[in-house]
Symmetry: C2
Subunit: 241 residues, 2 copies
Amino acid sequence: MSQQTNPQGFDSIALASGGLDSSTVLSIAVDRGFRPLPLAFRYGQKHEIELDSLRKVTSFLGLPEPLILELPYQAIGGSALLGEGAIPAEPQDGAQAREEIPSTYVPARNLVFLSIATAVAEARGIRDLWIGVNALDYSGYPDCRPEFLKAFLETVELGTRDGATTDDTVNEPYWRMHAPLAEMSKAEIIQTAAGLGLDLSLTHSCYDPRENGLACGICDSCGLRKRGFEEAGIKDPTIYA
Amino acid sequence: MSQQTNPQGFDSIALASGGLDSSTVLSIAVDRGFRPLPLAFRYGQKHEIELDSLRKVTSFLGLPEPLILELPYQAIGGSALLGEGAIPAEPQDGAQAREEIPSTYVPARNLVFLSIATAVAEARGIRDLWIGVNALDYSGYPDCRPEFLKAFLETVELGTRDGATTDDTVNEPYWRMHAPLAEMSKAEIIQTAAGLGLDLSLTHSCYDPRENGLACGICDSCGLRKRGFEEAGIKDPTIYA
């Protein structure tokens, strides 16, 4: 069986973006004694700032450089995050507006990201995946819901070499998904990160940063971040434009 | 909702490789009145001959150029098909050797391919997917089994905008998977393609073609193709090295 080596001794793959949520996941993984390979994607985002943030976060946590892979989302299309249509400002009436799926939804993004993560893991003999989905995401993005993650795990159990060849007499699936933020609000995520000593000023949330790299302070993602810090009772270290 | 246009009027996405199976699927789709967008991947295969074959097949069927997307499988690794380890010769005792998953297994390939196909479809408002998996594949590749495809469909139903927002009072899933070769042997696939008038000399099966493009005639895939034509009672138009 051909298998890529894993010389750096990673024991898990963590989807990472340099944002607040996935950076907190990396911090939690390290705190629990894991050595995750941070996996990020260049997929036609309007800016590269989040990948710069990710490198700062992984360095801060003592992890090696993230693995950054290119995905052909420009040819796939279908999202405001990929340059089609306007980035939405934070809705005035959050609850009502969030009943619809935002235009920043990227078609099948977490399905694609998790599928690639599974391939990266399988090539290295790794069976643990980390993802930063959380309760807030559920309302807007279908590919962040726990039932999606559960179905995904059942799919990879059937559709990968390592999942399919696992001894069925052992009553435990091969693949394991860690979603430690699943039940958390943004404020709880921020409190968790702060409690672990993560420097949140390194992380990036803004969908629409200024040319100088500063967060816009008005997009949906900036708004959620600002309110999260307020509710957490922690000073927001972000410098907004 | 931002949505990429679909000016060529495709009604489905077909995973296509220029091989015998997926070319037969394209032929079946066209015969049933569909207009599939052929979707192929450049993912670090040792050769590009199959994409040349695919262009010939789509042209033969009156379909537009295939959409060919790049995937970072070189950085993912883990397969003899991607230049790691030797391409296996056809096993002498096929039945016994096929109890193991071949070294030509590419980690999570159909999961990744179908996930990207789902994204391409969703960005274009398309809900029908075609794939050329067949009974022969089941024994070797876990990501070709019907139970994998079923689980995948349940996953995308939960994890995509279009699947998740489908009216639940209608007792029909949003996404549809067409796997018309599912129950067919290689001989039956060849008979089906021949019956539809597909020029099978345009298709390519060899894992390890010579520099002049000729099929090696000895790899697992060439062996299956040869025996398929023999069992179908149809003259093999392939020129072997």
